[in-house]
């Protein structure tokens, strides 16, 4: 009997304690954020959406190489000598036309690895997290600001210049070869040995110049 | 329209209720006699008891019997409740033993 009364008392006590907890929460403030009307404050370094300040990009491909999922696509065309692309805000000279700078945000895994290698700090996360699309291709962001006509023109120019340079180089090569021939004739040395040594040094020199 | 209805339909009196109870009774008898399922028979018995109750209450309404009829009907309901409880306990026991509640198959006492 005493046991029964005791257990009954404990039952009611625990029920009332529980109900007290719930009624306190009933009158307490709610933690809900009315999302489209009220927005959460995004932390400073939140990884949300990649953005490229294309004016500062020097086309160095470092970000594309750093990307673990290969979601950054960069195509560059070297600038011709008649145009000066100017300098970035950090002072680096720009030497390439960026004909293509695409980031596929559908593939991006928000690792932030592309942000740090950038020498000019032109690729970074912006606090925009509402960019869902019905079509996945819409998630590929194009940052290059060159128009197609401009791209074609620049490419043509670059090809022309490259061809010219090639011609010049060939000219130079020919001249050099001619000079070498003259020297050869003058020196009257065994031809095989000489040519071997000459070509060897030349290729070394050109390698050095390239790198 | 209303007049026509009034002519064809008579104000219900004692006989009307008695006829209803008689038909109910015969339906109950039909269920008891023609069905071999124990629970079905039980339901037939309930119908018979109900028809008896209608009789009692109709007489208590229309004759000198007064409230005594209702009193008897009340006792009938009480007994019906007791009967149903016991009968269903028996039916469950029978089902547990014979795995059937068909009255013709439960023939252990026939010898």
């Amino acid at each position: 009997m005493v046991e029964a009364i005791k257990s009954g008392w404990i039952t009611f006590k625990s029920i009332f304690i529980g109900m007290g907890v719930t009624i306190r929460h009933f009158f307490g403030p709610s933690v809900t954020l009315q999302y489209p009307d009220e927005r959460p404050v995004i932390p400073d370094k939140a990884r949300t959406k990649l953005y490229v300040n294309i004016d500062d990009c020097i086309g160095c491909h470092l970000c594309a190489r750093a990307c673990p999922v290969n979601c950054i696509y960069i195509d560059t065309v070297p600038a011709t000598s008649d145009v000066d692309l100017g300098k970035t805000s950090t002072g680096n000279p720009k030497r390439f036309w960026l004909t293509r700078f695409d980031i596929d945000m559908a593939k991006c895994m928000y690792c932030d690895l592309c942000v740090h290698p950038c020498p000019t700090n032109c690729i970074y996360m912006v606090p925009d997290y509402e960019y869902s699309e019905f079509d996945r291709t819409n998630l590929i962001y194009h940052f290059s600001n060159l128009e197609p006509a401009m791209v074609a023109e620049v490419k043509e120019k670059a090809e022309k210049e490259a061809a010219e340079k090639q011609k010049q180089r060939e000219e130079m090569m020919r001249k050099k070869a001619e000079e070498a021939k003259k020297k050869q004739m003058e020196a009257k040395k065994p031809p095989q040995q000489n040519t071997d040594g000459e070509t060897g040094t030349k290729s070394d020199k050109s390698d050095n110049g390239d790198s | 329209m209303e007049l026509l209805l009034a002519q064809s339909v008579i104000e219900p009196g004692l006989t009307h209720f008695l006829v209803v109870s008689a038909i109910l009774f015969s339906l109950g008898v039909m269920a008891v006699l023609s069905r071999r399922n124990t629970i079905m028979v039980l339901m037939g018995v309930e119908l018979i008891l109900n028809s008896a109750n209608i009789n009692f209450i109709a007489f208590s309404r229309f004759t000198e019997l007064s409230l005594d009829g209702q009193m008897i009907a009340l006792f009938v309901i009480i007994i019906a409740a007791a009967e149903a409880a016991v009968a269903l306990a028996i039916v469950l026991n029978v089902y547990n033993r014979f795995k059937t509640i068909n009255l013709d198959d439960i023939s252990l006492l026939k010898g």
Binding site: - | E2, L5, V9, I10, E11, P12, G13, F17, L18, V19, V20, A22, I23, L24, S26, L27, G28, V29, M30, A31, L33, S34, R35, R36, N37, I39, M40, L42, M43, G44, E46, L47, N53, I54, I57, A58, S60, R61, F62, T63, L67, Q70, L74, F75, I77, I78, A80, A81, A82, A84, A85, L88, A89, I90, V91, L92, Y95, N96, I101, D104
Partner: protein, 171 residues
Amino acid sequence: MELTTILFYLFSLITLGAAAFMVFSKNIVHSAFALMFALIGVAALYVLLYADFLAATQLLVYVGGILILILFGVMLTSLGYTFNFKTVTVNLAPASLLSATAAVLLIFAFVTTDWKISEIAEPTDTVYDLGMLLMGDYILPFIVAGVLLLIAIIGAILMSTHLSAENREGV
């Protein structure tokens, strides 16, 4: 034409139709639900006879109690719930002959008899009078009914516990 008349024919139609459906339906669960309509119809007939207390008792005991017991009995005694709940009909001809004879004889007797009808005033408060009767003239039957119910309950419980004990031995 009064509302009472319409209601009488409506409810007797419901009662008899449901009872007929109950008797002739092959599916025993359908029969049980038809019985429910019949019992509710009977309760309504009680109301038309100014037996409001009995109508409520009818609902409470028959519909709320006995019928649920019957349904439980049906569910517990059929082999699984997918079983068709079909019941067999036997002795159709003699049974219908007998019940038709009973109906005809009873109706003949009821219609031809000259009942001594007395126009008593419509009672307004049957509950009070019933209570007085129950505690006065009918006190002995009342107590006996109580004892009967007690015995029935004990008997039913004993039988079902015996049943479950047997089950346990079987396992």
